[in-house]
């Protein structure tokens, strides 16, 4: 089947008409409300996997349903159903409406559909790509990985994609629909050298179609996975304790995500539980630091044409030359603060209510060459690849795991290191940023952010950055 329907037309195949939308919104607002919305979602996901030199598994998943939210002040009633028949939708709406017991917003008499930008244009939907087209790709990646080095003993590959359609209908009459493609690929390697064994991997992800996998990207996917496994064979644990840390350009954006990004989500500030709750317009970092959360980067994993409550997405400056300038708002927090939403209201699926979330978070370029930054460190740690970030919103303490890096000795990268957790305090680390590089890179990896039991795709990026001191959880060996 070749897709010809627009995103708005997509849900007509499930019987979702303007009349039905009005009927369900009327049920949701029967006790009144300050806000209400319906979120219809249909996604088709496919994944193929290879291990032991065999393309030996596929997984397909279809998800269809609707979530209904009724908002009164900062109180939320939420219900969802996988059954899109009118009676079931109205039952869910009636359940959600129980949160509201006072007169307010009524259901719309007519709906309007603002035109959305297209931040992820694609030529072909994934449902129009046969499994037979995916199989040779993963096979070729495996062959390239084995051919790279005799120490590569096992290779695992997966190629995943999703066609997701959403339709969001608000009680103020706004109705928008969006088609959201996503693809990701992962290649994992087990390398064995005598008694030593290590696993390494690399992944790429984007809101894109099959053309995303050009020759250069396929080469990086394989070569970086193999390089990482081989590097781990000779890497050691760094020494423990506080030391200067240089974050490499790209996935080091995890520092921003954990040290400040979550703390800028407006729900945490509205509830006064973020360490940034009373710091708006105050200086929190040196002049060189400008931090942005952006929903508009072309084809980025974190991009969205509109957020999940039909607000326009945008480029939001969180920190401008060291000063805190904006939180990330959904419609509830925007009403609370009397500002416009920043298009940051996101949810994992129709089974989850909206929360303020990050999209693509990055730091703008500074004035320094990366080599100059490394040369400025007498003894410290250079961090290259990451996993598992976490933060405590109120205390501001955060951590992330460095999978690969190097020791810096006398201004030069020397011994490779691996597998170490770094921990710090958000505001203290932002103040401790000493140098910002001129090599901003948005990482191409498949980052996923977790909050309140919900996972959403995000992107992150950073230029090379020097932090005066972070606690490194290395060994005493």
């Amino acid at each position: 089947m070749v897709h010809t329907l627009t995103a708005r037309e997509w849900f007509t195949q499930f019987g979702i008409s303007d009349e039905l939308i009005r009927a369900v919104l009327a049920e949701a607002t029967r006790h009144g409300a300050d806000d209400a919305d319906l979120y219809f979602e249909h996604s088709i996901s496919t994944a193929v996997g290879l291990s032991d030199r065999t393309v030996n598994r596929a997984h397909t998943s279809i998800d269809l349903g609707m979530g209904v939210r009724v908002v009164v002040g900062d109180q939320v009633g939420y219900a969802y159903t996988e059954d899109l028949r009118l009676a079931s939708l109205k039952r869910a709406a009636a359940t959600a409406s129980e949160i509201a017991r006072h007169a307010g917003l009524a259901a719309p008499v007519r709906t309007t559909g603002p035109r959305l930008p297209d931040h992820y244009p694609v030529a072909r939907h994934w449902e129009d790509v046969d499994l037979a087209e995916r199989v040779p790709l993963v096979r070729a990646w495996e062959e390239r990985a084995f051919s790279r080095d005799a120490r590569v003993q096992k290779v695992q590959v997966s190629l995943s994609d999703t066609d997701k359609h959403v339709l969001i209908a608000r009680a103020d009459g706004v109705v928008v629909a969006d088609y959201r493609p996503m693809t990701s690929a992962y290649l994992g390697v087990t390398a064995i050298d005598g008694e030593k064994r290590e696993a390494g991997g690399y992944n790429v992800a984007a809101r894109h179609d099959l053309s995303y996998y050009d020759e250069a990207r396929q080469g990086r996917l394989v070569d970086l996975a193999v390089d990482r496994a081989l590097q781990s064979l000779v890497a050691e644990s760094p020494p423990a304790g506080e030391m200067p840390v240089v974050m490499a350009a790209g996935s080091s954006g995890i520092l921003l995500h954990e040290a400040i990004g979550h703390g800028m989500e407006a729900d945490f500030n509205r509830k006064a539980i973020s360490i940034y709750s009373d710091r708006m317009d105050k200086r929190i970092a040196p002049d060189e630091v400008t931090i942005v959360d952006d929903g508009t980067l072309p084809n980025a994993r974190g991009s969205i044409n509109c957020d999940d409550e039909a607000s326009q997405t945008e480029r939001t400056v969180l920190v401008d030359r060291g000063h805190l300038r904006s939180y990330l708002h959904d419609r509830i927090s925007a009403r609370h603060y009397g500002v416009s939403p920043t298009g940051s209201g996101r949810r994992e699926s129709f089974r989850h209510p909206v929360l303020p979330r990050m999209r693509s978070t990055y730091m703008e370029n500074g004035p320094h060459d990366p080599e100059e930054i490394i040369a400025s460190v007498k003894r410290g740690l250079y961090c290259e690849t990451f996993a598992n970030g976490a933060v405590q919103i109120g205390a501001g303490d955060f951590a992330f795991y460095v999978k690969h890096g190097y020791l810096i000795e006398d201004g030069k990268l020397t011994r490779p290191v691996k597998d170490v957790n770094l921990i710090g305090n958000g505001p203290k680390v932002l103040e401790a940023i000493e140098m910002v590089g001129n090599d901003l890179t948005i990482d191409e990896g498949g980052w996923t952010c977790g909050k309140d039991g919900q996972s959403v795709p995000v992107s992150q990026g950073m230029p090379t950055v020097k932090v005066a001191s972070l606690s490194v959880g290395g060994g005493a060996r």
């Binding site: 269809l64 199989v135 423990a240 976490a390 959880g473």
Partner: protein, 442 residues
């Protein structure tokens, strides 16, 4: 086949239809459930969520080619085309006979429904008013403990029910049903520029097995106040006191290396160590899916093979891996189990306070922040928060510190287990005491 069908009928019809389409083997699971969550903050309901849900997963094997497929679109016409597409697309894959279903003789219920005791009759009688009253009482109890430094607190009460059916073309058919209850809260204080926070959550199969409302509120308050004045201390080796509720993170680092997938892909630091000592004599780890009201209890495992109690580690010696049918065939060994259920550690004779009183100095790790472990080498590095104990007294709240080590070493450092197993999770560990653990701070 639709939203209105009984799920057993639905599963049986899916298996028949997929076979008719040409699948050699079919396994279908259908589940349905409902849940309600109420969260209160500031003296009112902050969020109420309610849903009834249903979904289906079908695994098909066609000419030894395998796919797994799931859908929540149960409209009759959609389900038929979903199955047609699943069977047709599976043929594009490559053959691997290891995917075949286990012998039907190995499948079935390993423990009676009565023994598992997963369905609290209270759940069916619970009304919207009961739930609202419970959440309100919990919030009132927590707010009664507020002092001037509290900037926000919230409570959470949830319950749910699930029923699932599995039907396989090898003849297996089974039904499983259970309910669950959860309650907890969080609190944030103001302390200079920082806003120390903590939380406490509890889950159980029976409502009556949850702690009382005052106990839950008290635990939220205690854990949050414990965070005041937190900071790092000097790097070094310390005795680590790990309360049962936090032990899952350390014990969980064994799960990957124990799994058949890691072993078969040579990504496990435990490969080749069966029968070898990997911990002290204090370390015994049992996988027990038969515990009445256990959160990880189950009648059969992921391959539908009968549940049984298994000793994974016996007095420090590795006795058994977690190897499901697929990886067992690839490894040429007998399957043990496709994944863990309840993990149980035998208890000791002393409680936390008594153990702490005997230690001149120790770090109690109350929670973890980020970090990871390398399953291939066993190296781990985890961020921690905790409390410094000296002479049996808590003397300092700890933050911005890491603990590091190796999975193959850390359990040799286990010197005592407490008499206080944590029962609100599937990892039912007592307090664990490890000597000579590497912490990094200032």
């Amino acid at each position: 086949m639709s939203h209105d069908d009984d799920i057993l009928d639905l599963a049986e019809r899916v298996v028949r239809f997929a076979k008719k389409l040409g699948a050699d083997e079919v396994a279908c699971s259908v589940s349905e459930g409902s849940h309600v969550t109420i969260q209160r903050r500031g003296g009112k309901v902050e969020q109420a969520t309610e849903a009834s849900t249903r979904g289906l997963t079908v695994a098909v094997l066609c000419d030894d080619r395998f796919s797994s497929n799931s859908t929540s679109d149960l409209r009759p016409e959609a389900l038929e085309s979903f199955l047609e597409r699943a069977v047709a697309s599976t043929r594009y894959l490559e053959a691997e006979a290891a995917r075949r279903q286990p012998d039907a003789a190995l499948c079935g219920r390993g423990v009676s429904e009565a023994q598992l005791d997963q369905l609290d009759p209270v759940w069916e009688r619970r009304t919207a008013s009961d739930r609202a009253s419970y959440a309100e009482a919990l919030e009132d109890a927590l707010r009664e403990l507020h002092r001037d430094d509290v900037v926000s607190s919230a409570v959470y009460a949830a319950d749910g029910h699930g029923r699932s059916i599995r039907v396989m073309s090898n003849g297996f058919s089974g039904e499983d049903e259970g309910a669950w209850f959860a309650a907890g809260g969080e609190m944030t204080l103001v302390e200079g520029d920082r806003r120390p926070e903590s939380s406490a959550y509890f889950a159980a199969r029976y409502l009556s097995d949850l702690p009382s409302i005052p106990e839950i509120a008290g635990e939220v308050d205690r854990r949050t106040r414990e965070r005041l004045g937190a900071g790092p201390i000097a790097s070094g080796t310390y005795t680590m006191l790990l309360p049962g509720r936090a032990a899952g993170r350390i014990l969980g680092m064994l799960a990957g290396p124990l799994s058949g997938g890691s072993l078969q892909q040579h990504r496990s630091c435990l490969e080749g160590k069966l029968g070898e000592r990997i911990g002290s004599e204090r370390f015994t780890l049992i996988d027990d899916p038969t515990i009445p009201r256990g959160l990880g209890s189950r009648p059969w495992d992921g391959d539908a093979m009968r549940s049984r109690v298994r000793t994974i580690i016996e007095e420090g010696v590795l006795r058994e891996y977690d190897i499901g049918v697929y990886h067992a065939r690839k490894l040429g060994v007998e399957p043990t189990s496709g994944g863990r259920s309840n993990w149980v550690l035998p208890t000791g004779t002393r409680g936390f306070a008594e153990i702490a009183a005997d230690l001149p100095q120790a770090i109690e790790v109350t929670g973890f922040l980020g970090g990871n472990s390398n399953g291939a080498t066993g190296d781990f590095s985890l961020g921690i928060r905790g409390v410094l104990w000296e002479g049996g007294q808590p003397t300092r709240s700890l933050a911005e510190m890491n603990v590091s080590g190796n999975v193959l070493q850390i359990f040799h450092q286990l010197v005592e287990t407490g008499d206080d197993p944590w029962t609100f999770a599937s990892v039912r560990a007592p307090t664990l005491v490890f000597e000579g653990v590497q912490f990094s701070g200032t």
